[in-house]
């Protein structure tokens, strides 16, 4: 199968964040950036699908400045065949603007399957994948928790609140990947060496106009410091009293 994976480079999600002096961005000092978690699941899913199919081509795409090449290279060290860097000074927070750039690029790619993470950690919006599918006129599963392909037909599971949909769809299609589909592999030393020789194409991203912009970023209000009310079962009556009289949730 010919599979494309669109990925984003995001800061390590376990970091402590500070707001930059501009107050419209995070302070990137000291942050580690890597492939977004959900993009990692998508890359792994693509590799496994093609391994199971006994061949094919896997291509990664990313929009952003030159540093996204490092992340694209990492995907190739995991086993992806080649990369396309859609160059832009920054990734707009406007998901439709990004989807336009990707759709313009992907429409002539001849892909059987186009995968995305269900959302990226930084913008946490979940727009780009599904919007790209619409712009391409392809069937789309948003946030699949299971995915398989048999011939020209895909099957997926998607979690609803308290239930799950079992879905079937014809290829070509777009699927955005939730956790649970595949745990990403670590690049092997051989993979890292091989990735250095794999092709990386760079071209300007044809972004749509940005109609959503960041006006301000702030940290959420701190929770008041925690309070330990007691030890063991003996503390239960006090807890119940507080839940009734103070928190008023009982």
């Amino acid at each position: 199968m010919k599979i494309a994976v669109c990925m984003k480079r995001t800061p390590d999600s376990e970091s402590r964040f500070k707001i930059a002096a501009s107050s419209t961005a995070i302070d990137e000092t000291g942050l580690k950036f890597d492939m977004d978690d959900f993009a990692g699941y998508a890359v792994e899913a693509a590799l496994q699908l093609n391994e199971k199919a006994g061949g094919g081509e896997t291509v990664v795409y990313a929009v952003g400045p030159d540093n996204v090449q490092e992340t694209l290279r990492k995907a190739m060290s995991m086993g992806v065949d080649r990369a396309v860097h859609l160059k832009a000074d920054a990734v707009p927070v406007d998901g439709i603007a990004v989807a336009k750039a990707l759709a313009a690029e992907l429409k002539t790619g001849g892909y059987d399957l186009i995968l995305f993470g269900k959302h990226a950690f930084d913008s946490s919006a979940g727009v780009v994948g599904t919007a790209t599918a619409e712009l391409l006129g392809l069937p789309c599963i948003t946030a699949a928790s299971q995915l398989s392909v048999d011939g020209g037909t895909g099957s997926a599971r998607r979690e609803l609140e308290g239930a799950a949909e079992i879905l079937s769809f014809p290829l070509p299609a777009v699927v955005t990947i939730d956790e649970g589909v595949a745990r990403p592999r670590y690049p092997s030393l051989k993979g890292i060496m091989a990735a250095k020789k794999k092709p990386m194409e760079t071209k300007p991203a044809q972004l749509g106009s940005a109609r959503v912009t960041i006006q301000k970023m702030e940290l959420p209000p701190e929770r008041p410091a925690g309070r330990i009310i007691g030890e063991g079962s003996a503390a239960v009556p006090e807890l119940v009293k507080l839940l009734q009289n103070e928190a008023k949730v009982l």
């Binding site: 999600s13 439709i96 912009t213 330990i228 030890e231």
Partner: protein, 328 residues
């Protein structure tokens, strides 16, 4: 005048809570953009139109009933086409949806079809002049973004429970909206597997009781279930460690890569409070934690912490909660 179109989500023939919250958010937006009307699309299987008055109770001026056998399940392409077509022909200022499983799929579809800007998972909104401004938690709830959206219409999806559905009774006018069929290749819903009956969804529950590795074994989750029963209508969640080990289904996972929740009460049982987990529940109104390690990070965010063996404390707590509720 600026009218706002709302997607009033249904499932199994019932209007969902998130739909009423979306109506409330839409009312707020309509008032902020000049006091227009709120028009709610009530799409579902034949007969769903009977539910229309409920949307009026929560402030919809017009209910557009769109009945189709296909809408018994989540017919994503046809729903998106129906919403987009109505948004276009009705000249709306905005389309509002819930950021639920349905809404997170439909929102980008409708935006792409309308070539409209979209903001998702919104917790507050306002308008000034031609710009709509929203607040959106990003970086797994660690940062709050204020986003300015220009252009018209705009698509906005609201985080479940962020807007409290408020009654604003109106005798809503009811109209028929003809469903628009999907074009081209589509996704087929082969089956819908319903989860355990009788418990609310994690995103909608006002009380969540959640367990971690400190429970020591999967069978001890029945103690967690018992506490949830004692609270009445509580949902049961779990940490990533527990879902990764297969003690609980992945869909129960609360955390950065799982569900992000903010109930009135969150009870963390045998949960140490890894950053990954805190990102999913730190916005809960009241947090209770029971853990044997008094240095566990969960105690830094817990309003009420008890240090001790959760297996031993749980039955005592369950009995005390039951007694307290029966005493009311």
């Amino acid at each position: 005048m600026a009218n706002v179109l709302v997607f009033a989500e249904t499932r199994n023939g019932e209007i969902r809570k998130v739909a009423l919250e979306a109506v409330t958010a839409a009312r707020k937006l309509a008032d902020a953009t000049g006091g227009g009307e709120v028009h709610a699309v009530l799409a579902g299987p034949p007969g769903i139109g009977e539910k229309a008055p409920l949307l009026g109770t929560y402030g919809a001026d017009v209910v557009l009933v769109s009945e189709s056998a296909d809408f018994a399940r989540f017919a994503r392409e046809s729903l998106a086409a129906t919403m987009a077509e109505r948004a276009r022909s009705g000249g709306y200022r905005a389309v509002v949806l819930g950021f639920s499983a349905q809404g997170r799929d439909l929102g980008p579809r409708v935006a792409a079809r309308l070539d409209a800007p979209i903001a998702t998972d919104v917790i507050d909104l306002s308008a000034a002049g031609d710009t709509i401004t929203v607040k959106h938690p990003a970086y797994a709830n660690k940062v709050i973004m204020t986003l300015a959206i220009s252009g018209s219409p705009v698509v906005i999806s609201v985080r479940p429970s962020a807007f409290t559905a408020v009654q604003a009774p109106k005798a809503a006018r009811v109209d028929t909206l003809v469903p628009v069929a999907a074009q081209g290749a589509t996704v087929t819903v082969v089956d819908v597997k319903e989860g355990a009956k009788g418990r609310p969804d994690l995103g909608e529950a006002s009380i969540i009781v959640s367990g971690g590795r400190g429970l020591k074994a999967p069978e001890n989750f029945k103690l967690v279930e018992a506490l949830a029963d004692a609270f009445g209508n509580a949902a049961v969640g779990a940490t990533r460690a527990v879902t990764d080990d297969g003690w609980r289904p992945h869909s129960d996972q609360i955390g950065q890569t799982g569900r992000q929740v903010s109930p009135d009460l969150y009870v963390a049982l045998g949960i140490s409070g890894a950053i990954q987990h805190l990102a999913g529940m730190r916005t809960s109104r009241t947090i209770v934690a029971i853990n044997k390690d008094k240095e566990a990070p969960i105690f830094k965010v817990a309003d009420y912490g008890i240090v001790g063996d959760v297996i031993e404390i749980l039955p005592v707590l369950t009995a005390a909660v039951k007694a307290a509720r029966e005493g009311h």
